[in-house]
Structure formats: structure tokens, C-alpha cells
């Protein structure tokens, strides 16, 4: 079973909230991702059973969204914007620095993303979808280290408040 007993109960509650079980695919995928840190194949199979569709349909839906990680992912997901405003204010340098610094760190996954709609505070990044703005490579590294050391509490891997 992919879901823990507690989460399985929650999953069933979520399914019951929708007129059609199929509509619960996305919230269940969030639930599974928060439980396991990424969206496992076993979880997609169980979601399929709970929502009455095939695993292929669950994968089809979940793979549409980049926020579902279908490969193991660090518990800290650092999303660095390199779109226009961040591009000219130093986003790529932050991305480069963090990628090198945490390249071998299993706890941290650094990804490049499109515009985070935080141009006013560029360059910006998100850690587990929490915004951090007006960064330099050094500040960004210190920030991630704070999270790693427990001085800051991250959201879940799907971005939910704990």
C-alpha cells in the first residue's frame, strides 16, 4: 500500500468530496507526494484504484504538472527563476552557484523555473514554493543552509503549510 493508514483515510475523505471520484486525482497526488517526498509509481497505482481510473490516466494527469515530482527529489526544492527580470538581475548566477554547491546533496534539489511573478523583488527563488526575493548567490546559499540546519521550517514538498 502506498498510502499510510492515516493518509488512506484522508484520501477516502477527499474522494468523497467530489461529485466524481476522478476529480480527486490532483489532491490525492499532492497527499502522496507530501507523504513520500515524491510521487511514486505505487502511489499513482493506488490513486488509480481510489478514483476508478487506470494508472496511465493518473500518470497522464500528474505528468502534465511539473510540480509533481515523479523521480526522487530532495526534501528542499529550490526553484530559481531565470526569466527576463531575474535574468538581468542575476538569476542565472544564483542558479549556477546553487547547482554547484548542492549538486551532490540529496536533501536539496535545485531547478530552473519560468517566471515566478516576483519581478518586483528579482532575482527571486522559491524553497518548497515559499518566496525569497532580492537575492545574491551568497544570500541564497545561506538561506538554503538555514533550511537545512532547521533554522527555518520549510513547507511540504507540495508547498503546503505545515
Amino acid at each position: 500500500m502506498a498510502f499510510s493508514d492515516v493518509n488512506l483515510t484522508r484520501a477516502r475523505d477527499i474522494v468523497a468530496r467530489y461529485p466524481r471520484p476522478k476529480s480527486a486525482i490532483l489532491p490525492l497526488a499532492h497527499l502522496a507526494q507530501d507523504q513520500d517526498g515524491w510521487l511514486t509509481a505505487e502511489a499513482m497505482e493506488e490513486i488509480a484504484v481510489l478514483t476508478g481510473v487506470t494508472p496511465a490516466e493518473v500518470q497522464g494527469t500528474c505528468s502534465f504538472y511539473t510540480m509533481f515530482k515523479r523521480r526522487p527529489c530532495g526534501s528542499l526544492l529550490v526553484s530559481v527563476c531565470t526569466n527576463v527580470t531575474c535574468l538581468v538581475t542575476g538569476g542565472p548566477a544564483i542558479l549556477r552557484h546553487l547547482t554547484e554547491r548542492y549538486g551532490d546533496d540529496d536533501d536539496v534539489t535545485v531547478e530552473e523555473v519560468e517566471c515566478l511573478a516576483a519581478c518586483g523583488g528579482a532575482p527571486a527563488l522559491q524553497v518548497n514554493y515559499e518566496y525569497h526575493e532580492q537575492l545574491t548567490p551568497e544570500i541564497a546559499e545561506a538561506l538554503v543552509d538555514d533550511y537545512k540546519a532547521g533554522r527555518r521550517t520549510p513547507r511540504t514538498i507540495s508547498g503546503a503549510q505545515r
Binding site: R17, R20, A41, P55, A56, E57, S63, F64
Partner: protein, 913 residues
């Protein structure tokens, strides 16, 4: 016109959880009030029905609007945007595949704006398309290629590198996916979900990364996967058996009927260099809607199997050795004569005939009954439904399923036995809202679409059917399940269509007969007898059944008529297959003819078949393969197969359709019916039949149910003719003179009548009316002929015996047919033989725990007849107290357990660990 945004308001009852709210948020196209609307398409005024889609109305009136995602048999999605047209007064371009016609609508499909939009869509669709047409199987018949040529810009402004994928990747054993070529029209994914109900493929990722995916470890193992290849508008999906085998312009096609099972889906059979290479589904409204199952689609490989017998053989010094046709026929005729002289006609028997055409069946029936004089003739093998039942029930057509008050499926698993009929029943239940009542011993293919499923143990089917019939007839209150089923019919008028078959070969046929008897009491009940073998219906209709003569008349009723037509008929009713095998086992059959049948592997009672084949006297095999049965023959007469001979066949609803010849056989094989005629000649009777059309004409003349279905009618009837034609004349669609067997066009392939020019249509109709009238009056009455006999009617009266009580430790065996079985079609097709599953005994989880075995463990299974060792697995689909084992899987040996003379087969299952 109804406003598209006018979504009906839904009452949301307070205190009811959201999951139980009534849902009005289905995607429903507005239909408006029923009636006729007038609109203008490209300056021409046309009439249409409210609710019709613009793209279809335009096409029906001769204006083709380009499209990729739209397919008539599926719901519109508007994914490809190719069908954009300009509608006056509507803002922007409209996708005609999802636009409903409205009164006064003015549509331009070729205006500058429309052409510019079509150019733009094609340019976008081609951004990532590799244009590898020279090495693509679709090249030459590719909708994208054709549409680009007809509607596209010719040049692209996109010069960037195209996307690349690993190519091709298998999505199942039979289908390969080339993602570079895919234009994301969603036809395959919609087919898999909407039509087949196997949503094992879906779109993954998004944007330029969109791809068709399967879930890891869960391939597209649908019985209908080949249809996605046919409807793919590019070369993204290819079938492994056809890939790189031919180019479309080298192919020639004939229209034919697939005879893999008894549904007889229409198809276009294509060959290149005298080799069959492909079968495409033809869209026949009354039969298959264009779909084929994979066994039918790829089963043509059997025709070119290396193991085919190409020349006649006779046994010399214990070995079958090749010889000339005259020698083989002489030996066969001598063997028959000897048996007749020494032991009389009752010592001669004929088994089989369900694999041939109607012409084969008729001439063999005439040979056996009119020349040899034996009625020991059976096209089934104790695994079917007696002819007196199958030929005498009030009948329904496949199309009747769509408008039935309810459908009752008794016994068989349609998905495994008659897959395209399964699609039709699924559609009726799911799309058309026909209540589906299932009566079966376990969960099977249709269960998820059934409105109610009534479970019964083997042997109790008749009693269950009685309670259901009582409830449907108004006598409620004795059985809650039957009452629930009857409640489904409230407010519904029309026939109850019963699909009747043998779901369990381990229980006696009496159980099915009893169920038929009970349900036939209902005045509104009509039946589709779903026997699986290819042309079993045609064979029985044309006399290959004990007690029957061609045309659904009993031996007694037809004695005078056929005595006149043939000269003589058997004196008494003969033995059925079980009786023949028992007589043979006891040494009373001195000459046995095996007409394309393999009792050794295909009879549910293996010990009986084995004993019979060993003890039978002179044995003549009329077959295309040496099998476990025919290897014992004294003479082997090789026959041509489907695709190698022309003729006609009758499907499970009684529809007579043509089969076409596409290739000539290797070697010297002959059509079955010619062999019968040759043997008759050697026994002193000249049938004077040279062509299949002559046989058809003789059938139309002498076989009462086939009156009027002669070669002329068959050549002109687009959808064939349902026998007896007098009861179905309104369904006849006739063309002028002769309907050509079409060259296949890519989609949807229409039956032949499309080739008729429109201006000919009126003449065609007049002629058709005349021909129709002609059919009804032309019961050929030669001078001095007796009056035509009445068709047989089944009046019930057959009772089953109550099955013995099951002891608490025994499991009652259910064994049903499975699509990919050990039959020759699968075994001799390279592509299909890979798909055969290993036999596993399925039991309920409760029984597994009681017996105390693990899934996958070996168990010993023992019946009163024999025992086997095989793997066991628990499956929630299996009812407690029963065990399921597929029939005729290589290695399953289930026929070692079954005794045809007992009502049910009880098993002991012991753990070996």
C-alpha cells in the same frame, strides 16, 4: 438554437454530501428541439437534423472539411483545430467537429479566412512532425500527408530543429509508437477509453513534450489495440505484423467478413505479391462499426503458416505421404463405400464444418445427408448449444441491442468469445442507457457495465433464469436479485434481447438450454445465440447438425421437400457430436470425416475424444493443418482457407455476407465444397456445381430460411441479408447491378455502396424495390415440387436435472473460452501465439485461505475424470465455491477433467507444498 452556455441548473439538496449531488456538468452538446434545420454551406442550401454536427452535415452533402481528431464513432473533442470554418455572425473561427448546426446558419469552408486558418493549423501541426514519409508505413495513405497537400500552405516558416524521441517504442506486443510523428489528436487514447474501455494509454506531459504514454509495467494489452493503428491519422502507431511489410500503393483489397468468431465483422483484406498483409475494419452499421478485435485483425497470418498442408496425403505403411488428388479422392471414396456396404449409413459420421463457408457447409450437408445418407453430422463438439435450440429461438439482430428494453447476457464472457459484440453491448449499456442484466458464474468482461449481475453456481443457471424470467414476467417477490433486474425495465418498451452462450464448458449444455427455455417464455424475449466458432451458424443453418436439413428445417419437416430436391434424405435422426464420439469409442463408426475440426484439443471431454479418434474406423481429414486429431487420418484432403476462397457466411444474428478471395493458395488445396462434390461424383451423384455462385443459387432455391438469398442478392446487398429475408426486407440496402468490393480508403472505410454514384441512386432504389419484391415471391416452385416446409421453432420442453449437491470441500469447475487460446488461428500466427497466457487455476480468496495455499503455488486438481497439477491464484472475480480455468490453453489440460455426460464438474484442490 440552445445557448451553449445554458447549463441546466442543478438542485443541490441541503445536507446531502457533494459526492451525491446530481451531476449536470457532463459535456453535452446543445441539441435544441428535434426537427429539421436549413443552413447554407459554401453557398449551397442543405437540410439537417437539429443536433447534427456541422462537419458531418457538410460531409453528407459533399463538402469535405479536413480533420484529424474527429471520428464519427467517437465523441468530438476539438483537439486538432483542423476543421476550422467561418460561420457568419459567429466571432472567430469555429471548429466544425463540435459545432451543432442551427437554422439559418451560413458556413464558409473555403473562404480566404477559412483557408488561412487551415494553413495555419497545418503549419503548426507540422512544426515537430518529422516528414520522414519515405520510411513511414503511413506514407501514401497518410491523412496528414493528404490533408497537407489538399489544404496546407506547402511551405513552413519553422526552420528550427524538431523534437526527437527514441523510436519506436512498443506499447504492447502488437503496437509500436513513434512519438516523433504523433500530432496529439487523441484518437487512440479516446478509442481506448470510450470505445474499448481499456484506458491503458493516455497523454503524458504537456506542450511540446506531450506524448502518448502507458503506465510502466502496464502495457496497452487491449483486445482491440489494432484499431488505434487503423485510426491513427499519421504513422505514429504501427502494428508489428504489418510494419515495413508493404507500401500502400502496392496493396490491393477485397471487402470480406472476418470469420475468426461468429460476429463476422466487415473488413478490407489486403495483399501484396499474393501474400495477405493486412485486414482493416470496414464500417458496417449493423455489424461492427468499423472495429475489429486483434485476433481477427492479425489472424490472417495463419493462412501463410509454414505448417499448412499443401498437397493431399494418404496413409501408406503407417505414414501419411503426399499423393495426387485423384488418388486421394479415390481412396477416400473407397473407404466411405466400404463402410456403407459393410455397416450402412449409420456407421458413417461427419464432425465439423464451422470453419468453412456456407457453400462448404451446404455441399457437405448434401453429400452426407443426400448421398451417404447419414444424419450423424454435427458442426459443434459438445461445447455448443443444440441446433434445435440455436435455430429455433425467436431472433434478434445485433442492431436490436441498441434499442432493446433490456439486454440479458446468459453465461458467456463476450469479451473473450465474441469481442466486437462485446463492444456493441458495452455501447448499448454505457452510451445508450439500455439496462444490462448479466447472468454468469463469475465477474467477467461486461460486469463493470452491467446494471445488475446475477451470480449462479454451475448447474444452477437454468433455475436462476427461471427466477429472472418470472420476475421479468411480473411475478416478483421470490428473488431479490431477479426483482432488482425486473425493476430496471420499468417504463421501457421494446424487446428483451437475450445473448445466449456457453460460459461454462464443464457443465452440461442442458443448463443453457433450460435457461433459454425459461427466458423464451417471455413474449418480448428475442435471442442472439452467441456460439463462437467462425461460421457455426452458417454450418447449422445449412444442415451440418443432426436432425436438420439446410434452411432451418427439421429432418422430418423437410423430408418430402429435400427428397424431391436431392433424391433422398436420411431415414432417422442421427447422433450429435457427443453421440458420434461415444459410438466411435464403441467401434460403431466405421468412417469418420473431420471437416476442419480438432476434437482432440477442442472437445471439452478429452478422454472421450481420444477414445473415439483411436477407435474410429476409416478417417478422412478435410483440413488445412495436421493437428492432434487429423494426424490419425487415413486420407488428408487439404483445403483453402479464409482469404483464399470466395463465398458467403452467416453470422450469429443470421446475417449472410460475402467473404472475398484475395490470394491464391500455395500448393493444390481445394475449397471444402469442391471436395464434397468430387466425393459425391465418386459415389455416383453429380452435383453439377462449378462456382460458389452456383452453390449460393442452389441454397436460395432449396434451403427454406435462405429463400431468395442467391448470388445476385448477395452481390447487391451492401450489408448482406438477414435470413429469412422476408422478415428483414426493410433492412436490405441494395446497390445497382453489383457492389464492387472496395479498395480500402483510410477512414472510415465504407461498405461497397459508397462507390455508387449519386445519380445512380434513384435507379438503384427502384431496382432494389423490384428485387426486394422479387425475393418474396420467387420461392422457386418447380413443377411437381412439394410445398415448402415450415421453419423450425424451438418450443422449449427440455429440462435439466438438478445438479448433485456440492460437498463442502469441493469446488465447482467453470471453464470458458479465452480469446488467445490453443486453437490453430493463434498457434499458427506468429504475432498472436506470443500472447497466449499460462494456465492458472483461479479461485476465490476465501477458498484460497481455506485450502491454505499461496498465490502461484502448485496444486493438484482432481475430478472424477482425471487430475492435473498447475498453479493457483486467488481472484476476487471468482465466486466462492467455484474454480475457473480457461478452456483450450496449451498445457491447461482442463478437458482431462470434464466428463460430457455429467451435469457439473466438481474438483478437489490440494496443496502440494
Amino acid at each position: 438554437m440552445t445557448d451553449v452556455n445554458d447549463v441546466p441548473k442543478v438542485e443541490r439538496p441541503p445536507g446531502v454530501p457533494m459526492s451525491q449531488w446530481p451531476s449536470a456538468y457532463e459535456y453535452v452538446l446543445p441539441t435544441g428541439a428535434p426537427g429539421t434545420v436549413t443552413l447554407t454551406i459554401d453557398g449551397r442550401e442543405v437540410k439537417a437534423q437539429t443536433g447534427d454536427l456541422l462537419i458531418k452535415v457538410a460531409q453528407d452533402h459533399g463538402t469535405y472539411i479536413p480533420r484529424f481528431c474527429y471520428h464519427e464513432r467517437m465523441k468530438p473533442v476539438g483537439m486538432c483545430r483542423m476543421c476550422l470554418v467561418e460561420v457568419e455572425g459567429m466571432r472567430g473561427m469555429q471548429i466544425s467537429c463540435a459545432t451543432v448546426v442551427a437554422d439559418g446558419m451560413v458556413v464558409h469552408t473555403q473562404s480566404d479566412a477559412a483557408r488561412q486558418a487551415q494553413d495555419g493549423v497545418l503549419e503548426l501541426l507540422l512544426i515537430n512532425h518529422p516528414l520522414d514519409c519515405p520510411v513511414c508505413d503511413r506514407g501514401g495513405e497518410c491523412p496528414l500527408q493528404d490533408t497537407t497537400l489538399a489544404f496546407g500552405p506547402g511551405e513552413s516558416r519553422f526552420v528550427e530543429e524538431k523534437r526527437h524521441w527514441e523510436k519506436p517504442i512498443p506499447i504492447s506486443e502488437l503496437v509500436l509508437l513513434d512519438r516523433e510523428r504523433c500530432i496529439q489528436c487523441g484518437r487512440c487514447t479516446r478509442f481506448a477509453d470510450e470505445i474499448a474501455g481499456d484506458a491503458l494509454i493516455a497523454f503524458g506531459s504537456r506542450g511540446a513534450h506531450t506524448e502518448v504514454i502507458t503506465f510502466p509495467g502496464d502495457p496497452f494489452t487491449s483486445y482491440f489495440s489494432g484499431n488505434t493503428v487503423q485510426i491513427c491519422p499519421v504513422g505514429a502507431l504501427t502494428a508489428t505484423p504489418y510494419r515495413f511489410r508493404a507500401r500502400p500503393w502496392d496493396l490491393s483489397a477485397v471487402e470480406t467478413s472476418c470469420t475468426t468468431c461468429s460476429v463476422h465483422c466487415r473488413g478490407a483484406l489486403e495483399s501484396s505479391s499474393n501474400r495477405l498483409v493486412r485486414l482493416l475494419g470496414v464500417d458496417s452499421e449493423p455489424v461492427n462499426h468499423g472495429w475489429l478485435c486483434d485476433k481477427g485483425r492479425f489472424g490472417y497470418e495463419v493462412v501463410h503458416s509454414e505448417d499448412r498442408v499443401r498437397h493431399p496425403m494418404v496413409r501408406k505403411n503407417g505414414e501419411l505421404v503426399e499423393c495426387s488428388w485423384p488418388e486421394a479422392l479415390d481412396v477416400a471414396a473407397e473407404g466411405l463405400k466400404r463402410a456403407l456396404e459393410l455397416n450402412g449409413p449409420k456407421s458413417v459420421a461427419l464432425l465439423g464444418g464451422a470453419r468453412g463457408t456456407n457453400e462448404d457447409a451446404y455441399v457437405w450437408a448434401r453429400f452426407a445427408k443426400g448421398v451417404v445418407g447419414t444424419d450423424n453430422v454435427d458442426a459443434q463438439l459438445g461445447d455448443g448449444i443444440p441446433a434445435e435450440v440455436a435455430l429455433g429461438l425467436p431472433e434478434a439482430t445485433i442492431a436490436d441491442l441498441d434499442r432493446a428494453a433490456a439486454i440479458v447476457v446468459v453465461g458467456l464472457d463476450l469479451k473473450e468469445e465474441v469481442p466486437v459484440l462485446y463492444l456493441r453491448v458495452k455501447r448499448a449499456a454505457e452510451e445508450l442507457g439500455v439496462p444490462l442484466i448479466e447472468l454468469a458464474p463469475r465477474d467477467q468482461g461486461l460486469t463493470r457495465y452491467a446494471s445488475t449481475s446475477i451470480r449462479s453456481l454451475p448447474g444452477e443457471q437454468g433455475e436462476t433464469a427461471r427466477r429472472l424470467a418470472d420476475a421479468l414476467g411480473g411475478a416478483r417477490g421470490t428473488d431479490a436479485g431477479a426483482d432488482a433486474a425486473a425493476a430496471l425495465l420499468e417504463g421501457r418498451a421494446g424487446d428483451i434481447v437475450v445473448v445466449l452462450g456457453r460460459g461454462d464448458l464443464a457443465e452440461s449444455a442442458a443448463s443453457t438450454v433450460r435457461a433459454a427455455t425459461e427466458l423464451a417464455r417471455l413474449p418480448q424475449a428475442r435471442f442472439i445465440v452467441a456460439l463462437r466458432r467462425g461460421n457455426v451458424r452458417g454450418a447449422m443453418d445449412l444442415g451440418l447438425a443432426p436432425g436438420f436439413l439446410p434452411g432451418r428445417v427439421t429432418l422430418d419437416a423437410g423430408r418430402e421437400w429435400f427428397g424431391h430436391a436431392w433424391g433422398s434424405v436420411p431415414a432417422t435422426v442421427g447422433l450429435d457430436a457427443e453421440g458420434i464420439l461415444r459410438a466411435a469409442e464403441q467401434g460403431r463408426i466405421h468412417a469418420l470425416m473431420l471437416l476442419g475440426t480438432d476434437p482432440h484439443d477442442d472437445c471439452p471431454d478429452h478422454a472421450l475424444a481420444e477414445g473415439a479418434l483411436n477407435a474410429a474406423g476409416f478417417t478422412i481429414a478435410i483440413d488445412a493443418f495436421v493437428t492432434d486429431s487429423t494426424k490419425r487420418a487415413d486420407v488428408f484432403l487439404p483445403v483453402t482457407m479464409w482469404g483464399e476462397k470466395a463465398g458467403s457466411v452467416t453470422n450469429l444474428e443470421g446475417r449472410v455476407q460475402r467473404v472475398g478471395q484475395k490470394v491464391s493458395p500455395d500448393g493444390t488445396a481445394m475449397p471444402d465444397w469442391r471436395i464434397a462434390a468430387e466425393l459425391a461424383l465418386r459415389l455416383g451423384v453429380d452435383f453439377d456445381l462449378e462456382q460458389p455462385e452456383e452453390v449460393q443459387d442452389e441454397i436460395a432455391r432449396v434451403a427454406p430460411a435462405y429463400t431468395g438469398i442467391d448470388s445476385t442478392l448477395l452481390r447487391r446487398a451492401r450489408d448482406g441479408a438477414v435470413a429469412p429475408v422476408a422478415d428483414h426486407r426493410d433492412e436490405l440496402v441494395l446497390g445497382p447491378v453489383s457492389i464492387p468490393l472496395t479498395d480500402a480508403r483510410w477512414e472510415p472505410i465504407r461498405p461497397g455502396l459508397d462507390a455508387v454514384e449519386l445519380e445512380d441512386a434513384k435507379t438503384a432504389n427502384d431496382e432494389a424495390d423490384a428485387l426486394r419484391a422479387d425475393r418474396l415471391t420467387s420461392v422457386a416452385q418447380s413443377a411437381g415440387a412439394p410445398p415448402a416446409p415450415a421453419l423450425h421453432r424451438f418450443t422449449g420442453g427440455v429440462t435439466d436435472t438438478a445438479p448433485p449437491a456440492r460437498d463442502a470441500y469441493a469446488l465447482r469447475l467453470v471453464t470458458g473460452r479465452t480469446l488467445y487460446d490453443g486453437g490453430i488461428t493463434v498457434a499458427a500466427s506468429d504475432s498472436l501465439s506470443e500472447l497466449v497466457a499460462d494456465p492458472v487455476l483461479l479461485i476465490s480468496p476465501q477458498d484460497r485461505d481455506r485450502i491454505g495455499v499461496e498465490d502461484g503455488a502448485e496444486v493438484r486438481v482432481t475430478s472424477a475424470r482425471g487430475s492435473l497439477t498447475l498453479a493457483v491464484r486467488a481472484d476476487a472475480a471468482i465466486g466462492t465455491g467455484t474454480a475457473y480455468l480457461p478452456f483450450n490453453l496449451p498445457g491447461s489440460g482442463v478437458s482431462d477433467l470434464v466428463d460430457l455426460s455429467t451435469a457439473v464438474t466438481d474438483l478437489r484442490v490440494e496443496s502440494l507444498s
